[in-house]
């Protein structure tokens, strides 16, 4: 037979209809395998500073000598202030800043989430650059309590020393803002939100007062995290934190500048994601890549810098780790040098990458190399959806009984002509049945609207009830598909249409999410992968197996697994509280993506499996 005649016969052939699940499986394997290939040298590159104006490490840093004595004095002062009341502490810090010649102000804030209230006051000072035209500013942060809730004695003291030191230089072309927030997550968030608004009206969960003094547009922010006590402690390396809210990252140039200065000019090793010694092996690179994916997909704040990044202000946190021989003056010189480099900038950092995955402090993967992984995973859903759509248009006569059809032994054939080619195909294969789209479309809409219920449960309940909320959600999640399948009786064609529409939407949403937060799209693509493979089946064994597979990969089970695997010490209630705080206070989208995108798709998958069971039980054979 000629090739065109073969292709004509293929139109009705069962091979094409069976192909989509295998293509989807291939897409999932390719997507996961792609990530595993990234740590290799061929798919990653050395970092380099793209912006020519930065000139990292080219300046001689004069921070040293008698500044060390001043630092020690300030550290004792900070220690003394930490023993006093909150108000006295703030007044003390304000006085130190004012004595250095900065214009000072404070900003109280309060967040109310899940019955808990988070209060604090941000204290800050503005140093006006002598050569500045007051249109741009750089921020030096030192949170009073660092991310692990230790008091940041040396960090705050270093910031105060640097403020006094910077005020004596006439080279600054941008204003310098020195910010001392109460804590590492909500203080900077409140400050940055208020800085970029005129006034923020108070809501039930948030009451931030306006920032009384403002400087120009923020160009960059550097945060210091050095919790060593009043007698000091030397450190061995610097951990650089760079994740922002919702997976946004700062421009790679800021990181490259900091790494180049710290490791090049000062000789301090730089690590990422607290990875200790990095031997640049495949395992270490993969481990850093994995940590990066995890923090980016969760999208919560990882340090004081995170709140700045959604406002297009590049920010990093320099955190001291370990016990070594570098002391506070090295850190001070690193900070001074970074600020001198930022000072050189004429425009926002834009030359280097905004989308990257770091393998170690000197190696990164650019977006063109890693984005196809998430796109291919989203493609697996789309391929299955297209296959299901075509299948839903097939006559019941052609479909096997196990899949809900009524195929008979003898199928009527007819000849099909195209030009000069003739082929013999089953008669029903050249016709499509009328698709009844109303019930599937309405069900899909309804399930997506229902997704707001678990979202509300997980974000609005008070702390004690969060665990109960999660248990309720788990119970509802496991029972709802069966209940829906029993009430909405779906024919085989309708079930396939419902699954097809749901998977098309899931594929499109994950593809869009990959442009915004690649890691979240990747993680969700892997966790939701079984949804592309479940099918309606009348066989009890197959349906049970599919049901177990779905239950194991359901959103509530994922929350339990997250706590068990990554936060075993913290406890489930604390994790749920952090997630709720992320949604209400920080504006993190994670919970909406899980309960509003993944959960409805999962419910639809469950309904499709359930409808197979229901049809088997209602039609005795």
């Amino acid at each position: 037979m000629a090739l065109s005649a073969r292709l004509l016969a293929l139109r009705g052939s069962p091979f094409l209809y069976k192909l989509p699940p295998y293509l989807s499986a291939l897409c999932v394997l390719v997507g996961i395998g792609w990530i595993l290939l990234l740590p290799l040298n061929e798919y990653s590159r050395q970092t380099y500073v793209s912006e020519n104006a930065i000139l990292p490490g080219q300046v001689h840093t004069y921070f040293g000598g008698s500044e060390h004595n001043i630092f020690r004095a300030f550290r004792q002062e900070v220690y003394a202030l930490s023993q006093q009341s909150e108000d006295a502490r703030q007044a003390g810090v304000l006085k130190v800043l004012a004595d250095s010649g900065l214009k000072t102000a404070s900003q109280p804030y309060a967040y109310q989430v899940a019955g808990e209230s988070i209060n604090g006051t941000n204290v800050y000072g503005i140093l006006q650059g002598p050569r500045a035209d007051a249109t741009e500013a750089m921020v030096l942060l030192a949170a009073w309590r660092n991310f692990d809730d230790q008091i940041n004695y040396s960090g705050v003291a270093l910031a105060l020393t640097l403020a006094r030191y910077f005020s004596r230089w006439s080279i600054w072309s941008k204003d310098i803002i020195l910010l001392i927030p109460s804590d590492s997550t909500y203080g900077p968030l409140a400050w940055v939100d208020a800085y970029h608004s005129i006034c923020i009206p108070p809501t039930a969960s948030r009451n931030i007062s306006a920032v009384p003094l403002k400087a120009g547009a923020l160009q960059a922010a550097v945060a210091l995290d050095y919790p060593a006590g009043p007698w000091g402690q030397r450190f061995s390396s610097l951990d650089i934190l760079y994740d922002g809210l919702n997976g946004a990252l700062p421009n790679l140039d800021l990181l490259n500048t900091a790494v180049s200065i710290a490791s090049g000019q000062m000789g301090i090793a730089c690590t990422l994601h607290n990875h200790g010694t990095h031997s640049d092996s495949y395992r270490d690179r993969l481990s850093v890549l994995g940590s990066g994916l995890a923090t980016q997909s969760l999208g919560h704040a990882t340090g004081p810098h995170s709140a700045f990044i959604p406002y297009h202000v590049d920010a990093i946190t320099l955190k001291t780790v370990g016990d070594g021989w570098h002391d506070e003056m090295s850190l001070g010189r690193v900070t001074e040098s970074v600020f001198r480099s930022i000072n050189n900038l004429l425009e926002h950092l834009h030359q280097s990458f905004f989308f990257y995955i770091l393998l170690n402090a000197n190696r990164f993967v650019s977006v063109g190399n890693y984005l196809p992984a998430a796109m291919v995973l989203a493609g697996s859903f789309t391929i299955s959806a297209l296959g299901l759509w075509v299948l839903s248009g097939r006559d019941d006569v052609l479909v096997a009984p196990l899949a809900g059809g009524m195929a008979k032994e003898k199928v009527e054939m007819e000849t099909v002509k195209l030009g000069s080619d003739v082929a013999l195909v089953p008669r029903q294969s050249t016709r499509t049945i009328q698709r009844e789209l109303f019930v599937p479309a309405l069900s899909l809409l309804g399930v997506h609207i229902l997704g707001y219920i678990p979202l509300w449960l997980m974000t609005s309940l008070s702390r004690e009830n969060l665990l109960l909320g999660l248990r309720t959600t788990t119970a509802v999640t496991l029972l709802l598909p069966l209940a829906l399948a029993a009430t909405i009786r779906l024919t085989r064609s309708q079930a396939q249409m419902l699954q097809s529409l749901s998977l098309i939407l899931l594929g499109a949403l994950l593809a869009t999410l990959a442009t915004l937060n690649f890691s979240l799209a990747l993680v969700l693509g892997v966790l939701a992968a079984p949804l592309a493979f479940v099918r309606r089946s009348s066989s009890a064994l197959v349906a049970a197996a599919q049901g177990i597979l779905l239950a194991v990969t359901s959103p509530p089970v994922a929350v339990y697994a997250l706590q068990r695997m990554f936060y075993p010490a913290a406890g489930l209630e604390k994790l749920l509280l952090e997630l709720a705080k992320g949604w209400s206070a920080q504006g993190v989208w994670l919970l909406w993506v899980v309960w509003g995108v993944w959960w409805p798709a999962w419910i639809v998958g469950g309904v499709v499996v359930g409808s197979g069971v229901m049809s088997a039980s209602s039609e005795p054979r």
């Binding site: 905004f354 098309i504 499109a508 593809a511 869009t512 442009t515 915004l516």
Partner: protein, 300 residues
């Protein structure tokens, strides 16, 4: 729903345009012209719908008018005013329709003048629509071109863009004079895609109006590209806001990502429009030649 979030005034324009179409289908030319004048007073572009809606009104008027020499009464098989003498005069109809339109427009402008201190509202409302000084990014095609254009060439390109949009109105009426409703809907599509301040609301209104041509959906050989076009619309309506956010708020993308997404959005709408035109014409052709039903077409 997206229109409700954005709260633009095009909701009113769309309402009055649809009202005008409805009255035209009932043959009421005065109310149709009145509604169309209000719509044009709000946004200028419904003026382009004057020829198609006029044709639609005239057509319906012909259908509803009884023949003059009808002696058999209601049982007559000649229900339509099919002869030349029975039809309302074209010039008569045209004058009344356009006259009503112009009169209403003049009345509305006069009312505005009474409420406002001077005639300055005329340039500030209508010249901004014509000269396109505001280039805020929108899902349309114009802003990107005009942002990067040098000033000496601006008026030339303005002329070219407007000429292009104007040039569809009369030809649609001429070709689809047997189905004036199709001409109206197609013209709605042209304005939704090519107007300077394009928005999602008008595109949505036009997509809803496609159901007016549902008689072409049942013909099996028409609407060849619905699925790809709808899939593209789904993806671009998700990616558009994402890239808009990445460009203007997160600062990690640039205008090209967003404009490319709007280009693809408009391409999908255009595919739906051309498919609709094809299906209307195909339907007409198959009505004349029933043996052609179901056959594929080939470009020669």
């Amino acid at each position: 729903m997206a229109t409700a979030l954005g709260r633009p005034t095009t909701a009113f324009t769309t309402f009055f345009t649809l009202l005008s179409i409805r009255h035209a289908t009932e043959g009421k030319l005065q109310t149709s012209a009145f509604a169309l004048a209000i719509a044009s007073y709000l946004s200028l572009h419904p003026t382009l719908l004057l020829p198609p809606i006029g044709l639609l009104g005239y057509d319906q008027l012909c259908k509803s008018r009884k023949p003059v020499n009808d002696t058999d009464g209601p049982k007559s098989p000649m229900r339509y005013a099919s002869t030349q003498t029975d039809r309302p005069k074209v010039l008569d109809f045209g004058t009344r329709f356009f006259g009503c339109f112009l009169l209403t427009a003049a009345l509305l402008l006069a009312l505005s003048r009474v409420l406002l201190p001077s005639f300055a509202f005329l340039p500030s409302v209508y010249l901004t629509l014509l000269r396109v000084p505001d280039l805020t990014p929108n899902p349309g095609l114009w802003w990107y071109f005009f942002i990067e254009m040098f000033d000496p060439f601006r008026s030339f390109f303005l002329g070219v863009f407007w000429l292009h949009m104007l040039s569809y109105s009369v030809p649609f009426c001429l070709r689809m004079r047997k189905q004036p409703l199709a001409a109206v809907v197609s013209m709605l599509g042209i304005t939704a895609i090519f107007q300077p301040y394009a928005n999602v609301g008008e595109a949505g209104a036009w997509l809803s109006c496609l159901t007016l041509l549902s008689h072409t959906f049942e013909v099996s050989s028409t609407h060849r590209y619905t699925f790809p076009a709808v899939a593209v619309l789904l993806y671009t309506s998700l990616l558009g806001p994402a890239f808009h956010h990445l460009w203007l708020y997160a600062g990690s993308g640039n205008a090209n990502f967003f404009y490319a997404t709007t280009l693809v959005w408009n391409l999908a709408l255009l595919i739906i429009l051309t498919d609709t035109v094809y299906s209307v014409l195909r339907d007409e052709w198959e009505a004349e030649r029933p043996e052609g039903k179901g056959k594929d077409v080939r470009q020669i």
